[in-house]
């Protein structure tokens, strides 16, 4: 490995074409090949020399990053005139282009109109250097304060749970070394008695400090309390705070116990709150959740398949909770499933068991949960597990829909199951079945649901085609199967509505966020900001392109997202997963997420002052332009 690298070092020289290009740029037309070779060797050598000197300056500047000033200083050292105009501290805007088998790195030099520079207002003066003191350690123990890093990074939490014998916590380092010492010391100097402890698992301290206890109390109260603003803050805190790991066992017990109690009491609202807590915990990048899955997963599964989740199953929208929990489950399958714990296959087995063996007597609610749980696991699962059962399920639905009226509840249940099946299966069928879509063919293949599936599949195909047209923008499109967005949008929960993007708009009594546009549901972390615009494009004909500045007040949804997706790209478009292939009339959802660079990194940008609440005005300042396609349908839908 090292050898390879060294050999490479030896041979790297600038290409002769570069020499030619440079010669041309200074007006030397015909440069002979030999001179090019000689030049390139010489130039490469000199550049390497300068780079080595520049590294020296970097080391003495106590930095990890080589800056342009290091190069300047190195040139000065060699008594060469430094380069002027390369003053960028952070980021050198080299661009890359390739084509015709050639790769090119270049520095884009824009022509700047002097009057523009003069007329633009001066950037804000960077903050002056200041000094701040904090305790890094108090008598050997690092206090948990915001200035210090979280007490245990994820790797360490993992190491702790998997290899408890090796663990040495930062605060308890003395303990570990004392043990080590007694191992190494030849003379037992009173520490001999600790020898017995050496192989013992260090007792894990879950004692919480007073502050932590207060915090825990506040957070849990806010999470299940009645004030939505407080809850949003609490969830935000759970999702982002790096120092929660000491409290994790308590949170997990809180959730599992809470679900247990509230399922019995059919308290839908509390169940939703608890699921949102699970979501927030899963979103926290610093937590090592694996240790507590045995408590969390049963709670989540309960919320998917429980027979009854609310007091009035005919009115309350417990379907959304099931959807949400199913999505949570799918997410945890994706993140935590390994070959050893095999969460996904366990989960599938459980659901299949429910679905197939309890079939005749199963409640529609449980059936809905099973199907939703399976469907969220992705097209492969749908293809292998749901599609073969479509005919059976169809027959069952038919029995309820067209047979004698048993009860209203069953009818609603069957209706939900039907739309769920249609929604999920259509997209999969659209992919695996060749065109054309023949209604009769569908009927024979899928039974009762066949004709409806057929129309949904056709719709899905047109959507996909439409999608393909739109994609040829320079934005990055990624499919987003899980609800990372918490969008305040009500009125979508009608019986024909497709999958709703998030749990929040379940029953109207639970519509926690005001549907008013521009209100962020959760304050985003100050470092990165996202602006999400959900727009619905039904027919392609009525697309409009509006800059955000003119339309921000009318934008149906503007909201912030917790930084669950680590999107560093400047412009990211998220689509709700079932994009193509919707059977319902609801057009597809499109999110445009704009991540603004954190202001701390660039001294030029002045966006740091923008509070999360005033996000809608940020693009105004930066003059950013967002394409927004909107259908008339969407605007009529947003008011309710």
């Amino acid at each position: 490995m090292a050898e390879e690298r060294r050999q490479k070092q030896c041979s790297v020289v600038l290409p002769t074409e570069s020499m030619k290009a440079m010669a041309e740029s200074v007006g030397v037309g015909q440069l002979q090949e030999e001179s090019c070779v000689a030049l390139s060797e010489e130039v490469s050598y000199r550049i390497k020399e300068i780079a080595q000197d520049a590294l020296k300056f970097m080391h003495h500047g106590k930095r990890r990053k080589l800056t342009t000033s290091d190069i300047d200083n190195a040139l000065k050292l060699k008594n060469v005139e430094p380069l002027y105009g390369f003053q960028s501290q952070e980021f050198i805007p080299f661009r890359f282009a390739s084509g015709g088998g050639r790769e090119l790195h270049f520095y884009e030099e824009k022509e700047v109109d002097l009057s523009d520079i003069i007329n633009t207002p001066l950037p804000r003066v960077p903050l002056d250097v200041s000094l701040k003191a904090h305790w890094l350690s108090i008598e050997g123990v690092q206090p948990s304060i915001p200035e210090n890093p979280p007490p245990a990074p994820k790797e360490q939490q993992k190491a702790e749970s998997t290899e408890p014998l090796k663990v040495v916590k930062p605060g308890q380092e003395e303990e570990g070394t004392i043990q080590g010492k007694s191992q190494g010391a030849t003379a037992p100097d009173g520490k001999g008695k600790e020898k017995g402890l050496i192989r013992l698992k260090p007792r894990s301290t879950h004692e919480l400090s007073v502050e932590q206890q207060l915090y825990y109390k506040e957070i849990t109260e806010a999470c299940v309390g009645s004030c939505e603003a407080k809850r949003a803050e609490a969830l935000q805190s759970i999702a982002t705070d790096p120092g929660l790991y000491q409290m994790l066992p308590r949170f997990s017990t809180f959730i599992s116990e809470g679900v247990r109690v509230n399922v019995v009491q059919n308290n839908l609202a509390l169940l939703i709150y608890l699921m949102r807590m699970v979501k927030a915990l899963m979103d926290n990048p610093t937590l090592y959740l694996e240790k507590y899955l045995h408590e969390l997963i049963p709670a989540v599964v309960t919320c998917i398949v429980s027979k009854q989740l609310c007091l009035r199953p005919d009115v309350d929208n417990h379907w959304a909770l099931r959807d949400f929990a199913a999505r949570l489950m799918a997410q945890s399958c994706k993140t935590f499933s390994t070959t050893t714990n095999n969460i996904q296959s366990h989960f599938i087995t459980r659901l299949m068991f429910l679905q197939s063996w309890l079939d005749d007597k199963t409640q529609w609610t449980t059936r809905y949960g099973c199907i939703a749980g399976l469907a969220e696991l992705g097209p492969d699962v749908i293809k292998t597990l749901i599609l073969p059962r479509l005919a059976v399920e169809g027959a069952r639905i038919k029995a309820v829909m067209e047979g004698p009226v048993v009860s209203n509840i069953d009818k609603i249940g069957a209706d939900h199951v039907q739309s769920l099946l249609l929604k999920h299966c259509a997209s999969v069928i659209a992919k695996i079945r060749p065109q054309p879509d023949n209604v009769e063919q569908y009927r024979t293949d899928y039974g009762y649901l066949g004709p409806m599936l057929c129309s949904h599949v056709m719709k899905a195909r047109t959507q996909a085609a439409l999608q393909a047209q739109q994609v040829n923008r320079t934005t990055l499109t990624i499919t987003q199967p899980r609800p990372t967005l918490s969008v305040s949008q009500s009125g979508l929960s009608g019986s024909t509505g497709p999958r709703t993007p998030s749990i929040i708009k379940v029953p109207s009594s639970l519509a926690l966020m005001s549907p008013r546009p521009g209100t962020p549901s959760q304050p985003s972390p100050p470092a990165t900001k996202y602006i999400v615009m959900a727009t619905s494009a039904g027919a392609a004909s009525t697309q409009q392109v509006i800059t955000l500045s003119s339309s921000q007040s009318a934008s149906p949804v503007t909201s912030t997202v917790p930084s669950a997706t680590s999107t560093l790209q400047p412009l990211v478009k998220l689509e709700s997963g079932s994009g193509p292939g919707l059977t319902a009339s609801r057009p597809l959802q499109k999110y445009i997420v704009v991540s603004l660079p954190s202001s701390a990194s660039s001294s030029l940008e002045t966006k740091s002052s923008v509070l999360p609440t005033s996000i809608s005005s940020t693009p105004l300042d930066t003059g950013m332009k967002l394409d927004r396609s909107e259908s008339p349908g969407a605007s009529t839908q947003s008011p309710h």
């Binding site: 090292a2 050898e3 060294r6 050999q7 070092q9 030896c10 060797e41 010489e42 490469s44 050598y45 390497k48 020399e49 020296k56 300056f57 080391h59 003495h60 500047g61 106590k62 930095r63 990890r64 990053k65 800056t67 000033s69 200083n73 000065k76 050292l77 060699k78 008594n79 501290q89 960077p126 903050l127 002056d128 250097v129 200041s130 000094l131 701040k132 003191a133 904090h134 305790w135 890094l136 350690s137 108090i138 008598e139 050997g140 690092q142 200035e147 210090n148 890093p149 930062p170 380092e173 003395e174 070394t177 004392i178 080590g180 010492k181 190494g184 954190s598 701390a600 990194s601 001294s603």
Partner: protein, 773 residues
């Protein structure tokens, strides 16, 4: 301009100069001699470059003609015109003489195999020098050395004065000419691999020792190939064998790998280091005999010559060393230190503290109660007792180095120090220090150096934007002294005159000192808190007054960036070291250095005074640490073992030990008296920028680029030493790998590299760094 002159002059005079910046010339001499020397030849040198203008003696005219000839050849007619007009030469002079002189130039090049290109380039530099000399321009050493070289090359023989200079000066071409011996380039690989085969087949106990030969041999063989213009063979040779070398030589190998042409060998510092200093190997007699016999049997003269010429083999009697023993000591640019180098006696003991009667203080108790911190009260006798002890046999005599008299304020400070010392916490593995971290916010990657005053009342930061900023970390604000006019008005007899001279209007928490013209890389407070030193990329060291917050002196001497500076613990003296590889000792009231310490083969990256002010340590990019005697300027210790440039040094408070940290992330501990490595602390993953012993020497704290502060059990590290085992004859060391046992704590910052550490007088650890969002 003055710098150029003296630089050249010294270069001409001095014998053992290392071609690089000529002003490095006088090595370990007393600088007073050096200064004397520098004045007289200093006047010669500029004359040499200026005389052509006056149309002076024939030899200069000849060089000028050579230049003109060259210019004409290259169709630079305008320059020819200008130069000729300047020199007042008639046009017809040019042709015949010019031809002659240029011919003489090439012929006279002492021993060098200068090609035309080389000649031309040297002529070119000559032109730049002479024209820029008129234009008052460059003070940089590259030009200087090139300029000296021109004298040899172009006017070697015919000029008596200059030829002397040429012989004296081990000029680049002369240095390189050692490589001119020719062998069949194709055979180099054969030689090398046969030696490799031989070493691989010898007995295990000898193999590790003999393997040391590989690296220097490899380098010199490669350089020979390059020097003799066998570019392709050299490349092949490099590719074939560079992978075999120890990983810690990677940096040097990278430099070598880019060096593929003879022309590149000029001015390449690494190369010159190799050539001018013999690579030192320490090999047992048995192993050496084995090698010698093998080479003689095989008639492998090529390798034997290299060993004879470029290697210094330090043969010892006894058991061959093991691989780990060798690895511990190797890694420096020029091999291990010779054993003799570390034989000199070092008076590492502390000086006797001056007698100051400690006033009995009642408020002592109160202050302690106010603090409210549980502290083990150290019996006062301790600090008093150590004073009254008789002179340490290892301590230098009190007057070995003249130290400044104690002022009244110093005595007050000493009393304060003793008071504080009585409240000092006894640290140990069970009693770790608290760490207070000072983060510099909004520094935009620009913080380059930090220092605290000894009493921890002030903190200073050096920045890449050339500023030095001083903060008060106590409630006491920083105030300037009033202006002279206002000072006249105050009542000089009043008791609080010291208060009255301060200008309340200027009170602020921080002050900015402007004056440098480049990033400030080193910073150091004087022990009495009246002065601050800063060293910068602009080649100067500046002394600032912390009374007036103005610059008092700019010490010029280093022509290149000055990487570090440090005040002596007794004040008055300070040391600076930088890119020019020379450490200089200064006194604050002299604008020229008192001593110059030369010997390092690469940049001096950090400097540190011994607690007794009689010695100072310098760490360098050549991966060695040297200890210098302030009295006579001798290098008394060379410590090798680091595998990267050294960035941090710390003496233990008792003066017996030295700790050093480098880019390789290791802390090495050294016994100064025996001149041996006594410990290795592994744990850091990035460059160590700061090291500090606690006030009583129990704990060593290290701060690094990897955003951690680590605490090590220094007592244990030093106590475990079996000093009898120091068989100084062989200098073998047996290091046990006990880093994990010695590590007492690791404290991670959020995103702040730790670039400075300081123990307060009560053993609270202060750390500082710039937050790096």
């Amino acid at each position: 301009m003055a710098a150029v002159q003296s630089g050249m002059g010294e270069g001409v005079e001095e014998k053992d100069i290392k071609t690089e910046p000529a002003s490095d010339g006088f090595g370990n001499n007393n600088a007073n001699d050096g200064r004397l020397v520098s004045t007289s030849p200093g006047s010669n040198a500029p004359a040499a470059s200026n005389k052509p203008v006056a149309g002076g003696p024939p030899e200069d005219q000849q060089t000028l003609l050579a230049v003109l000839q060259f210019l004409r050849k290259n169709k630079l007619t305008e320059s020819v015109e200008i130069l000729r007009r300047e020199a007042g030469l008639p046009e017809d002079d040019l042709d015949p003489n010019g031809a002659d002189s240029s011919g003489a130039g090439t012929g006279g090049a002492a021993g060098s195999v200068d090609s035309d290109a080389g000649d031309a380039s040297s002529l070119l530099t000559r032109v730049t020098v002479s024209s820029s000399a008129a234009a008052q321009a460059p003070t940089k050493g590259t030009i200087q050395s090139d300029c000296c070289q021109v004298y040899d090359g172009a006017s070697g023989g015919p000029v008596p004065g200059n030829s002397a200079a040429g012989e004296d000066q081990p000029d680049v071409s002369v240095v390189l000419s050692a490589y001119s011996q020719q062998g069949d380039p194709a055979l180099y690989e054969v030689y090398y691999s046969s030696l490799k085969r031989f070493i691989e087949t010898v007995l295990d106990c000898h193999r590790a020792e003999l393997s040391q030969v590989f690296y220097p041999l490899f380098v010199h063989m490669y350089l020979e190939l390059v020097y003799n213009n066998h570019e392709n063979e050299a490349k092949a040779f490099f590719e074939k064998f560079s992978g075999d070398q120890e990983c810690y030589y990677e940096d040097d190998l990278r430099v070598l790998s880019s060096l593929t042409k003879k022309e590149h060998m000029r001015g390449n510092e690494t190369l010159l280091d190799f050539r001018t200093s013999k690579f030192v190997l320490r090999i047992s007699r048995d192993s050496y005999q084995l090698l010698k016999r093998h080479l003689q049997e095989r008639q492998n003269n090529q390798i034997w010559n290299i060993i004879q010429e470029h290697l210094y083999i330090d043969i010892f009697d006894g058991m061959p060393r093991s691989k780990s023993q060798i690895d511990a000591m190797s890694g420096s640019l020029a091999g291990e230190a010779k054993r003799e180098a570390n034989k000199a006696k070092v008076y590492y003991g502390l000086l006797k503290e001056p007698e100051i009667e400690l006033p009995l203080d009642d408020e002592d108790e109160e202050a302690e109660n106010e603090e409210g911190k549980p502290k083990k009260k150290k019996p006062k006798k301790d600090s008093m007792g150590s004073k009254s002890k008789k002179q340490d046999p290892n301590a230098p005599s009190q007057s070995r180095i003249p130290l400044p008299e104690l002022k009244d304020s110093d005595k007050l400070d000493k009393i304060m120090y003793m008071k504080e010392a009585t409240k000092r916490i006894r640290l140990g593995p069970d009693n770790l220090p608290s760490i207070c971290f000072y983060s510099f916010l909004n520094a935009y990657q620009g913080l380059t150096a930090v220092d605290f005053t000894d009493d921890s009342s002030l903190i200073a930061g050096g920045f890449a934007d050339s500023t030095v900023r001083v903060w008060s970390v106590t409630p006491k604000k920083l105030r300037k002294v009033k202006s002279a006019a206002d000072l006249n008005l105050i009542d000089k007899e009043s008791d609080d005159v010291l208060e009255r001279i301060m200008d309340e209007k200027t009170a602020s928490e921080s002050k900015i000192l402007y004056g440098h013209s480049g990033p400030v890389y080193g910073i150091s407070f004087s022990p009495d808190r009246n002065y601050l030193l800063s060293s910068s990329e602009d080649g100067t060291v500046r002394l600032w007054s912390l009374q007036t917050f103005t610059c008092l002196v700019g010490y010029k001497g280093h022509n290149y960036p000055v990487w570090d500076t440090h005040f002596s613990p007794h004040g008055y003296y300070f040391v600076s070291g930088g890119h020019d590889r020379v450490a200089r000792l200064w006194a604050t009231d002299h604008y020229q250095p008192l001593r110059m310490f030369s010997g390092h083969l690469a940049d001096i990256t950090c400097t540190r005074f011994h607690p007794n002010s009689n010695y100072l340590a310098t760490g360098s990019s050549d991966r060695t640490i040297r200890l210098w005697d302030v009295l006579n300027g001798n290098c008394v210790r060379i410590f090798t073992g680091h595998k990267g440039p050294i960035h941090a040094l710390a003496f233990s408070p008792n003066g017996k030990f030295l700790a050093s940290g480098a880019t390789d992330g290791r802390v090495l501990l050294w016994d100064i008296g025996h001149g041996l490595m006594v410990g290795e602390l592994k744990g850091h993953t990035d460059t160590i920028y700061s090291l500090r012993f606690s006030r009583d020497g129990e704990i060593l704290a290290s701060g690094s680029m990897d955003n951690t502060v680590r605490l090590w059990d220094a007592m244990k590290a030093f106590d475990d030493l079996e000093t009898d085992d120091f068989t100084a004859a062989t200098g073998h060391i047996h290091l046990q790998d006990n880093s994990q046992e010695l590590l007492l704590g690791t404290y991670l910052t959020k995103s702040t590299p730790v670039i400075h550490l300081h123990f307060t007088r009560r053993n609270l650890l202060l750390a500082a760094g710039a937050y790096n969002p």
